[in-house]
Symmetry: C2
């Protein structure tokens, strides 16, 4: 496999950044000075879980302040939004990371990204399941996909020298922001800062935040979805200290840096970026880390606000009505004619990707416009990977509107969209049973078609299946010839569910459906393995099956099962008079040609 | 048409907000006190140009500070990034709107959203084309889609009382930030603030920013794309004064408010929101405006960071190889067998929606993985509405990679993607001619197939078209019977480009291709109107056409044109011996059945 463009780019970037000098290694924690100033690791983890990495991307170092973002998310999960906001604000302080920015009256730290706010936040990490440090390590493990540990040398070193942070903790205790021992709070905070990570870990942590809180590699929920926006919000306004405004202006990605030399940046919906290079600038940010983020943002024109538009063009895979594409039910000529005329009253929409407010709104407008002419909407969500809250509510409102107008709407292929199904079921228990009635789009379309057919009184049930004249294969044969056909055949009865033909059977007979229904289907499983059953067509009285197999006296290429009690006339093809056989072959040619002509018509419409 | 869900929601919201009281009308500009405190207008304009509005959404009022965002974008366009940054910073001040937040050394205002920064920004609006006020009004007109004017009473009123702003202008002149008359600068600034807008206008202005700077209704470029992120960045960090951190945390949309009672908010890629209600809170923001933004954000779970993921699932409409779907060129049995075996070496990708970094990266990984087995990639961009900078560069790198490996890549249906084509052409003038060689996907696929066919030496050119045995329609006929067929026919020659059959002609003959090529096609135009020509198939020696029409002696349903010099044997079907006709009909049935069976196989694969 050729090198991926992004890998290629990162290698080039790494080579160039390796030449960048400047900055000094943090020395306020003595143990940090042991870092090699030449270390340089860069990693990008995408929102669908692919990881690119170059250089010292697997070199461990201590996470330091980057942990503040992770701990804030954990505190929100443990305590809820209001309890956390009561102790820590969300306004940028405009000051350096070690400033003591407390609100004058309450002592509430300005935000969770300065040390004061971070110590208060970490003290909020608690539940009954495990001690706080274990909870922190387990949470980090959720983000990185592997067990985490602490660099005890760095922890001990910071513990011995962290007087300013101890002072902050005592001030917080004095204001009642900390409710327990300041010593315990700073110890836990120092341990949190000493967790060992790599640039690769940071990228994946960022990817979890880019992916709605879910680790895209393991599928583990690292952070509840509803708190992801909140963590990204404080990163974007407070993550880079007094460079926050410029950072969003220039780089445009929520980010957090640490004095260990790491930076974690997030482009929501797209990727997490981790950079590691120990030398720091005067503001405590990694010199080459900042440069890497700025370069990547500039070179690719990436920015938080440069998102893909969410409109119908992005999620509507195709839409059609039943004049152009019908269900796989075989229709009589009268039914076909009716649907060609009235099929516009059934409309199908195949959606794709992620539905958010803008895309759902845009698609719904198109559906509502169609509703003036349509009686039924079938919305196929098979290729939709997620339905956002806003989109789910808009679809629910649409369903309510359609139901109120006495028309039908079916959402099909929704089994993977648990939250969306649940919203419909919770809000309208009775109605939703109908809205979610079909998982298979083709079944939903068939039912909608059938309503038109039944209303017009041209259904297959009015056909006499026993009158072989109604069958395309016998069209044009004389009554005498038909008698010969009947005489050559035997009537067969199958109970509902019985197999009539199976793939691989030798094909010798054609079957005329006299009464009941049969389904022609194949399985998606290859080589005898079981797979999903895919319906090719459903047949009623006046139709025929098995004729394709006998053309070349080959093996059956599809299964046929009785879907109701079924009566057929089985006619061995070889025993028929040659003239009759040739006549039937010509009918087949006409019939198949008409079907192929329909395909051509379809191409013309879809082109 | 039923009420759209969003309209419905806004009406309910309007009714509820009408009950909200509190706040006072701005009185520092005397003329503003004439506003009716009950006015309440809300409008949403989507990124694809649909506008929802309720209440007093058409009531004009003065834009006031919201103009700062528009003027900042215009100054960037007129002066460029560096010149503007030299005069005005981008860091939040953490202070109120009328604070005099200047950097101590340089006198540079902290950001363009405080009055000092806005006055400095407006003074940067200048080019040679028109006086600044005209430029401002024309720019606003680009955003709103209609001519704009100034409320002269408000302008005069502010001019008489705006002493603090005059003081600021003089300070700025003292620092050299303003380079011309402070009086002229404040006059222009007061005029800018007095431009009359409606809630509907604000929504559409926001929609322009949500849509990459393009007015989604008129298609006019309101702001150059490269400055949109910058304007949104200062709105997000400084747009709501000292409530900026909380605003992004709670509401999560870049926004700007004005003391006229307006708020403009933007959800990038999705919509602009305009609210108008005169009573203000202590910070100068519309009370009901804030409430409306918070409610809409909360009720729909909207947030800047809650974007749709950009992965292959969101943009890959479908992909296939030539074992499953082939070009519309009719293939001989030998060619068909070869492609069934080796068609996997040609892969086709149909993309859709907007390509950004994450989605392009994800799709490219899939392509690179396929490249191990494939010789040629065809990337169909027909349904792609935009290719972002990052995506364009990734596609370019992919093309370079593929070319370097000696394989082929074709980007098809790209005529609407001007910027992408230009990037390829600019970077690799020679190579891009090949990459962009086909606009029609089917032609590109045909050429790739043909390469496989030629390499294997099984092309139609090795068939003797004059030997009717090679023709499916004659298969199984005796030599004697073939002689009869030949005797009944006449040889016809057509120069390249000549029409052989036209839709509507009476169908009487079948045509055997002896040498050359013919194309079967229809037009997308309905009822005789000219449309796009859509190829149904291309035919070479050893194939037949016109046989479908003669089945029922009907009219021709497609056009056939000689694509090279063409020699055919035209055989009137009716004059043939009945036994030969029946034999041919059976061959047709077999042939069509095989084609339909392929369709079934396709369904099985696609299901």
């Amino acid at each position: 496999m050729a090198t991926a463009p992004v890998q290629d780019y990162l290698e080039q970037l790494h080579a160039e950044l390796a030449q960048v000098s400047g900055g000094t290694i943090a020395d306020y924690i003595p143990e940090l000075t042991r870092a090699d100033p030449n270390w340089l690791g860069i990693a990008i983890a995408t929102a669908d879980g692919h990881i690119y990495q170059v250089g010292d991307s697997r070199q461990p170092f201590t996470v330091q302040s980057i942990s503040k973002a992770i701990a804030y998310g954990l505190a929100l999960s443990d305590q809820g939004l209001d309890a956390v906001l009561a102790k820590v604000g969300v306004e940028p302080s405009g000051e350096a990371f070690n400033s003591i920015s407390l609100e004058p009256d309450t002592g509430r730290p300005m935000n969770p990204m300065i040390n004061a706010g971070a110590i208060a936040t970490t003290a909020l990490v608690r539940d009954d399941r495990a001690p706080p440090l274990e909870r922190l390590l387990a949470t980090f493990a959720g983000y990185t996909g592997h067990a985490m540990d602490i660099d005890t040398a760095v922890f001990e070193s910071e513990r011995e020298t962290g007087h300013r942070n101890r002072a902050i903790a005592h001030l917080l205790r004095g204001y009642g922001i900390l409710e327990s021992s300041p010593e315990a709070a700073t110890d836990l905070y120092f341990q949190q800062c000493a967790i060992r990570v790599t640039a690769r870990d940071l990228a994946l942590m960022g990817a979890c935040l880019a992916n709605g809180g879910v680790n895209p590699v393991t599928g583990v929920v690292a952070l509840k979805r509803r708190y992801v926006d909140k963590v990204l919000a404080v990163m974007s306004t407070c993550g880079m200290y007094d460079y926050s405004g410029g950072w969003i202006f220039n780089v445009g990605m929520p980010a957090k840096s640490g004095v260990g030399g790491g930076i974690m940046a997030v482009l929501p919906g797209q990727f997490g970026l981790g950079v590691f290079s120990p030398p720091l600038d005067a503001k405590g940010n990694s010199v080459r880390g900042i440069e890497a983020c700025e370069r990547i943002s500039r070179d690719f024109g990436l920015h938080l606000f440069s998102v893909a538009r969410a409109t119908s063009a992005t999620v509507l895979r195709r839409s059609y009505d039943c004049t152009r594409i019908r269900s796989r039910r075989e229709r009589s000529p009268a039914e076909t004619a009716l649907l060609a005329e009235q099929g516009g009253r059934v409309r199908v929409y195949e959606l794709q990707g992620e539905l958010v407010f803008g895309s759902a709104e845009s698609v719904e407008l198109a559906m509502l416009a169609d509703l003036a002419e349509a009686d039924a909407l079938v919305v196929d969500l098979k290729r939709v990977v997620a339905v956002g809250d806003a989109a789910a509510r808009l679809l629910l409102r649409l369903a309510e509107r359609v139901a109120a107008s006495g028309k039908q709407i079916y959402f099909t292929e929704t089994m993977h969209l648990y939250g969306f199904r649940r919203l419909l079921q919770k809000t309208h228990a009775a109605a939703s049973a109908d809205w979610l009635r079909f998982d298979d789009t083709d079944r939903a379309v068939e039912v909608c078609e059938q309503r038109l057919v039944d209303a017009a009184g041209v259904g297959a049930d009015v056909l006499d299946g026993a009158d072989l004249h109604n069958n395309y294969l016998c069209r044009g044969l004389s009554d005498t010839a038909l008698d010969t056909v009947r005489a050559a055949g035997s009537e067969r009865r199958y109970p509902a569910g019985a197999a009539v033909l199976s793939i691989g059977d030798t094909a010798q007979s054609v079957f005329f459906v006299l009464a009941g229904e049969a389904e022609v289907w194949v399985s998606t499983g290859e080589g005898g393995k079981s797979g999903r059953r895919v319906r090719l067509t459903t047949l009623g009285p006046g139709t025929v099956f098995g004729e394709i197999g006998v053309l070349d006296r080959e093996r059956r290429t599809a299964n046929v099962t009785a879907s109701t009690d079924l009566t057929c006339l089985e006619v061995p093809f070889a025993v028929l008079d040659p003239a009759i056989r040739e006549h039937m072959l010509a009918n087949m040619a006409r019939h198949f040609a008409a079907m192929l002509r329909e395909n051509a018509e379809l191409v013309r419409h879809l082109a």
